[in-house]
């Protein structure tokens, strides 16, 4: 069995807002050390305001760390590297484009030729179950559908690392569970490395190979939990006894941190 390959690595990363100015500083994140193996599904859970989104921004190249290094595929990153896809928490579908045009957006800007665009867009639309809505506008779709559009838009770019920032936060529980299944399907089909930020412990426990637990702000990793799930999994593993154990362990670490961020004694 080949040794796990390091896909992305954060070393000693901190992010301090207002660093280098004379104004107030906000120590949002770090120091964080994180190694992502190629092809793994990794989730990050943590209390509100702990810096999870900042972590994603730094990893994606959307934010520059105050300290530390960020490496993707062996090289230090500058700006957003090629091969990284991001799905945000808010609905980022463009209101003025149809679903099809939304999905094709990134490819068109990258100058990919029309035939290839059509092929990839058709595939992604089919894969994400959007075929019946290909010519609809986002305003005509539900929140869950719009997130699928955003995921499809990222999917067509064939990213090797997919970062998702609480993508299902605005959805109801049942839709979330089903979207989780979709995400797993996506992960298996593309073989990409996935980093998912979520506040939902069950989601992290169910979907991931590994879960990183973050402390209250400034966020640092206080635990890494390996789930040991088989690759072929879906939301039905919630009935597995091991699922309860994982969730319990996550909450045990997280409860104290959450209380801290709420301002009460643990």
């Amino acid at each position: 069995m080949p040794a796990p390959e390091v896909h992305a690595r954060l070393t000693g990363v901190t992010r301090i807002y207002g660093a280098g100015t004379s104004g107030t500083k906000l120590h949002a994140l770090g120091p964080v050390d994180l190694t992502l193996e190629r092809g793994e599904f990794f989730s990050v859970v943590g209390p509100s305001g702990c810096g999870k989104s900042t972590l994603l921004d730094v990893l994606a190249g959307l934010a520059v760390p105050t300290d530390g290094t960020v490496e993707f595929e062996g090289k230090a990153i500058r700006g957003v590297p090629d091969g990284v896809g991001v799905v945000f928490q808010e609905d980022a579908s463009f209101a003025w484009l149809t679903v099809r045009d939304n999905v094709a957006f990134g490819l068109r800007r990258a100058g990919v030729d029309a035939a290839e665009i059509a092929r990839r867009v058709d595939y992604a639309i089919g894969f994400m179950g959007l075929r019946d809505f290909a010519n609809a506008y986002p305003s005509q779709l539900s929140g869950g559908m719009r997130q699928r559009v955003c995921i499809a838009r990222t999917l067509v770019l064939q990213p090797r690392l997919i970062l998702l920032d609480e993508p299902f936060g605005a959805l109801d529980q049942q839709t979330r569970l089903l979207m989780g299944d979709e995400l797993l399907r996506l992960w298996r089909e593309t073989g990409a490395t996935v980093l998912l930020i979520t506040h939902a412990l069950d989601e992290a426990a169910m979907l991931s190979d590994r879960v990183g637990v973050m402390s209250a702000r400034p966020g640092v990793f206080i635990d890494f939990v390996a789930t040991g799930w088989p690759r072929e999994r879906d939301s039905r593993i919630v009935s597995d006894a091991h699922f309860g154990a994982i969730t319990a362990r996550l909450w045990e670490k997280l409860r104290a941190e959450s209380l801290k961020s709420l301002g009460s004694a643990p």
Binding site: A60, V80, F88, W96, F105
Partner: protein, 242 residues
């Protein structure tokens, strides 16, 4: 279908009210609907009327172009930076609610009597709402759109053309509709106050002669034009997916 029917009923009611007012007030005060339309028909057969229309139309067209191009330009520049937007907003709003007619003498002193003064009046009125709406639209572009643009590694030109522009279009259209109406108003008031040509002047001179029929005929003409144009802009507005 019912909506169209209701609307027609409303028009009939308005015409009826007009007729009743005419019968109360008398011919020298308020012309009847029938006479007004007859007068309008007669006017439209004269060359003089259309010369006036052309005069007003020219000034209005120029004022409109300046309002929209200038307004979008200024609004974009001010809106790109959060601070400049926040600082400018109250200033623009104050200018908007100012009775700009008070500044007309200044405009006349700068431009003299004539076409350029009229265009200036119209532009003064139309530019501010366009700038205001554009500025606010730019400031309110969904932040997630801009983050998406960065995640997709778009160039600034691509962001402007493929994301910013479509995102602000609905609000800019609303500002443009307002700018349209206000430019027309500005040009007409300018003509009523200080011009020897154009529809505004026509109204004013008719008033001096006590020629009610002409006043009302021109007013109807302008109203129909304004409402029709506004309706057209609304149709275009509705067609934008948002």
């Amino acid at each position: 279908m019912r909506k169209a029917g209701d609307f027609l009923i409303l028009i009939v009611v308005l015409l009826a009210v007009w007729q009743v007012l005419h019968m109360i007030a008398g011919d020298t005060t308020l012309t009847s609907p029938a006479d007004t339309f007859a007068k309008l028909g007669a006017l439209m057969r004269t060359e003089q009327f259309w010369a006036n229309v052309a005069e007003t139309g020219q000034a209005f067209a120029l004022a409109l172009v300046i309002s929209i191009v200038g307004g979008v330009g200024i609004g974009t520049l001010l809106g790109l930076n959060r601070t400049s937007g926040t600082v400018s907003e109250p200033i623009l709003i104050s200018l908007y609610s100012l009775p700009k007619v008070t500044l007309y003498p200044l405009v006349l002193l700068c431009f003299g009597l004539g076409m350029s003064a009229k265009v200036a009046f119209g532009a003064m009125h139309g530019l501010i709402p366009v700038a205001l709406f554009t500025m606010k639209a730019i400031m309110h572009i969904k932040p997630v759109y801009l983050r998406t643009a960065r995640a997709l590694r778009l160039s600034p030109g691509q962001v402007a053309a493929t994301i910013a522009l479509p995102a602000v279009l609905p609000e800019v259209m609303a500002g443009a509709r307002l700018g349209f109406s206000l430019s027309l108003l500005g040009v007409l008031i300018g003509e009523m106050f200080a011009s020897k040509r154009g529809l505004g002047f026509m109204i004013n001179s008719a008033m001096g002669l006590g020629d009610i029929a002409t006043i009302m005929a021109v007013a109807v003409f302008l109203s129909v034009f304004a409402v029709a144009a506004n309706a057209l802009l609304l149709v275009i507005d509705r067609a934008i997916p948002r």
